[in-house]
């Protein structure tokens, strides 16, 4: 069947008899959790969208150290959040198979950085599998559980956008039901990482890594591809890089030997050493960081090999952004001295109207931003966060001045407010607030920082595909959930000034923001309105009446296109109009038109 790389991972986990699966949604990892959330009940597994990646990992550690199999999936930056747990978990090790899937995002298609999470395998000292297509996603995830139980170590499966979001044929097997109940066997000398235990367990981990290397030497995922008869030219490649290398070798019609490393950490030094010995020139093809390349160079030095090694350090391949076949072809030509010109990558012609992603028609965030701009003008500093609402960075709103990571709006707002004499407003979504906003809020209350925190509560995790969050009353198919009240959390953090507004009420929202920024200390506004995509789907919260612009009244002031941003309102040949199909019927535009030319139809 045709499966997305992420779906293949979910399928493999079910066939491996996984009992517990957790995640925090994030592109390009989200579909792993979404697939498991749908089938959790029928498959008899426990699945949860955890509050954040740290909790997701800890929960799974609790289950796996008891003896069941557990899968945790997240996007690359999510591992930063989980890292505190992961790195020490490598010391205790696991009993049931524990697989952590990290989906990296070279070229930042939907991310704030393009960090290379293979470093986490090096940092924690964990086995690393790198699938390059959906079939390998399936096979490697299954194998990762076996490997994890054999070594009693968590195993990292690392994909990239071009692996997770590729759909291709996968041959699948039978789903196996995992055990739901286990008995945790106490062993404090292993599982309680006080210093005396930790020192010992680090030595155990290093021993296990040697065993892991032996397994990498014979792994079927480290395979040779002989293209023609060469023996002189070699390529060592992994993940998406190996796909481009294979396609390039065929399109250039050259003879080359490709060593594809799917089980790449610990590096199988005998296999790689033998490959180096039997080739004169070896090109290392890997996206992002020169991790394999550096390891291969170190190996060549240890074994006193004369093989010429080419990669990123000599500029044959770039260290930033994802590869494509043209980039790899050019590197192959350069490395092996193959004549001919590589095709230039086409440039999109200039002058075309751009089409960046935008807040949807009827998006409550757009209404909030319009009201905030009206209330505080341009003088305020806006600390933003991760979610759809980050799109407010673009004109006309420009409501994002600083964005670092999940939850950073709250923490950075405190520092901004301390050293600036203008109002500071932090924006955070409901899911992100639960994920990483709460410690920052407690810090602000405790230290008396002065800023306004606006929690943009659209009742869902919208950007990643509308997953539930702790504020939701409905969870994945397997399980009942309890909705956690944001008001209760905010009050519990010690906040004294809290208001809840409906962002569709522009006047009320504007007045409340004005009042909030005048407060001493931290003030909080919850701007609550369901995501318009959900509201349109279940036909709640939107009026059937769609507004139109009365051209006899419109004085062409352009506020509806210059200060407000709605995909349904366009201005062509100096005439503003509303597209009825795109219009969601939120009615916000009828409130913002100074001449009252925008009217709801009768």
């Amino acid at each position: 069947m045709l499966l997305l790389g992420n779906e293949a991972i979910a399928r493999a986990a079910l066939e491996a008899g996984v009992s517990v699966a957790t995640t925090y949604p994030g592109t390009p990892a989200s579909e792993i959790g979404d697939a498991l959330a749908r089938v959790a009940k029928d498959a008899g597994i426990y699945f949860e969208y955890s509050t954040n990646e740290m909790v997701a990992t800890e929960f799974a550690i609790g289950a796996a150290t008891s003896g069941v199999r557990a899968l945790v999936s997240m996007k690359h930056v999510g591992v930063n959040v989980a890292a505190d747990a992961l790195i020490t978990f490598a010391y205790t090790g696991t009993r049931g198979g524990f697989v952590l899937v990290t989906a990296d995002d070279p070229s930042c298609h939907s991310s704030q950085n393009e960090q290379d999470n293979r470093y986490y395998a090096l940092l924690a000292g964990l086995p690393l599998l790198e699938p390059s297509n959906p079939q390998e996603c399936y096979e490697m995830t299954k194998e990762a559980f076996e490997l994890s139980e054999r070594l009693e170590l968590p195993v990292i499966v690392r994909t990239t956008t071009r692996v997770s979001h590729v759909r291709g044929p996968v041959i699948v097997g039978e789903i196996v039901k995992g055990r739901k109940k286990m008995e945790f066997v106490k062993d404090p000398s292993r599982f309680v990482t006080v210093p005396a235990v930790a020192r010992e367990r680090h030595l155990v981990l290093l021993e296990k890594l040697k065993e892991a290397e032996d397994l990498a030497e014979i792994s079927k995922f480290n395979e040779m591809h002989w293209i023609g008869k060469t023996g002189k030219r070699g390529i060592i490649a992994s993940s998406a890089g190996s796909n481009y290398a294979m396609d390039s070798a065929h399109s250039l019609d050259i003879e080359v030997d490709i060593l594809k490393l799917g089980f790449s950490h610990p590096l199988p030094s005998k296999l790689v050493g033998d490959f180096l010995k039997s080739h004169d020139v070896v090109l290392v093809v890997e996206e992002l960081e020169p991790i394999l390349e550096n390891a291969v160079r170190a190996l060549a030095q240890r074994q006193l090999l004369k093989t010429r090694i080419i990669g990123k350090s000599d500029g044959a391949l770039p260290r930033a952004h994802e590869f494509d076949q043209n980039i790899v072809e050019a590197a192959i030509r350069k490395a092996f001295g193959i004549k001919g010109e590589s095709t230039n990558v086409p440039m999109i012609p200039g002058g075309l109207p751009g089409r960046p992603p935008v807040l949807c028609a009827g998006c409550p965030h757009g209404a909030t931003y319009f009201a905030v701009n009206k209330a505080v003008g341009k003088k305020a500093i806006f600390a933003s966060d991760i979610g759809c609402y980050t799109l407010g960075v673009a004109p006309p709103y420009r409501t994002a001045d600083l964005l670092i990571c999940m939850g950073s709006s709250v923490g950075t707002a405190g520092g901004l407010a301390m050293v600036n004499d203008v109002p500071v407003i932090a924006f955070i979504g409901d899911s992100t607030f639960f994920h990483a906003g709460i410690p920052g809020l407690i810090n602000a209350v405790h230290h008396g920082h002065r800023f306004l925190l606006m929690i943009l509560d659209n009742r869902t995790t919208a950007m990643t595909g509308h997953q539930p969050n702790p504020g939701s009353a409905v969870g994945p198919s397997c399980c009942d959930v309890t909705a956690v009240s944001i008001e209760d959390v905010v009050k519990g953090c010690g906040v004294k000034w809290l208001r809840v507004v409906d962002p569709y009420d522009i006047k009320m929202t504007t007045e409340t923001v004005k009042e909030a920024v005048a407060q001493e200390g931290v003030s909080v506004i919850i701007a609550r309105r369901e995501c318009i995509l959900l509201a349109r789907k279940d036909k709640t919260g939107v009026t059937a009446k769609k507004p139109h612009i009365d051209q006899t009244i419109c004085d062409k002031c352009r506020i509806c296109v210059d200060k407000f941003q709605c995909p349904a309102i366009s201005s062509v040949d100096k005439v503003q109009s509303i597209d009825e199909t795109l219009c969601a019927g939120c009615g916000v535009c009828t409130q913002i038109c100074p001449s009252k030319a925008i009217k709801e139809e009768k």
Binding site: L2, H109, R167, P169, D247, N326, P353, R355
Partner: protein, 211 residues
């Protein structure tokens, strides 16, 4: 229309799908993928998920045949299947003398046209721009054809029909029809009819004298 995309005797077309988030492009690519699989061919699709889907430009690729990477190398695109006229121009830089561009004439005016007072190109400007590099340009009124079948939302299926009608994919009509049933659960009859409308349209346009 002669078959392009021959590599070593086998038909291995590379299809570049573009449009705007929300137009059903991922579903269209899945239909092409399943049709290829039903025909016993290898296929790889790349999809756009996440932030870009919020009304932004969306690109998917479908490569049929024995390839490893889902991304199409520069100069190798056989078909650009565009769901939106402005996106056709944006995608046209990927066209070469082997490329047939099939474009819906649907216009979704981006906010930049209003806010930056930019001009949305006319159909004739799009055609001229495309034909500077491409082999052929086929314009399809996909919205009208879909509405005629009572499935306004199914312009993506009309476009798949238009692709199938060219014969470039080397896949049979019934492979596509089975794939539509696999991927679309509601209004299957209407969707198959919409596919048929798209199919007939390219067949008609390719008949000498009609184009």
């Amino acid at each position: 229309m002669p078959l392009e995309g021959h590599k070593g005797g086998e038909v291995m077309p590379d299809i570049y799908l573009v449009g705007v988030g929300g137009q059903g492009i991922v579903t269209a690519s899945k239909i092409i993928g399943d049709a290829a699989l039903l025909a016993g061919k290898n296929v790889l699709l790349s999809e756009t998920h996440g932030m870009a889907q919020r009304g932004g430009s969306v690109v998917c690729t479908a490569r049929i045949g024995d390839v490893h990477s889902p991304l199409i190398p520069a100069g190798k695109v056989d078909v650009i299947l565009s769901f939106e006229l402005l996106e056709t121009v944006r995608a046209a830089c990927n066209a070469s003398k082997r490329t047939v561009v099939i474009s819906s004439i649907e216009r979704i005016v981006p906010l930049s046209v209003s806010s930056q007072k930019l001009k949305y190109p006319t159909l004739e400007e799009v055609r001229a721009s495309v034909m500077r590099s491409a082999k052929d340009f086929v314009a399809i009124d996909a919205v009208k054809l879909a509405e005629g079948e009572g499935v306004k939302m199914s312009t993506n299926v009309v476009m798949v029909g238009a692709l199938a009608g060219t014969g470039i994919t080397g896949l049979q009509r019934d492979h596509f029809e089975k794939a539509i049933k696999m991927n679309i659960q509601s209004k299957q009859g209407e969707n198959l009819a919409a596919f048929g409308k798209g199919f007939s349209e390219t067949v008609r346009l390719q008949t000498p004298g009609n184009h």
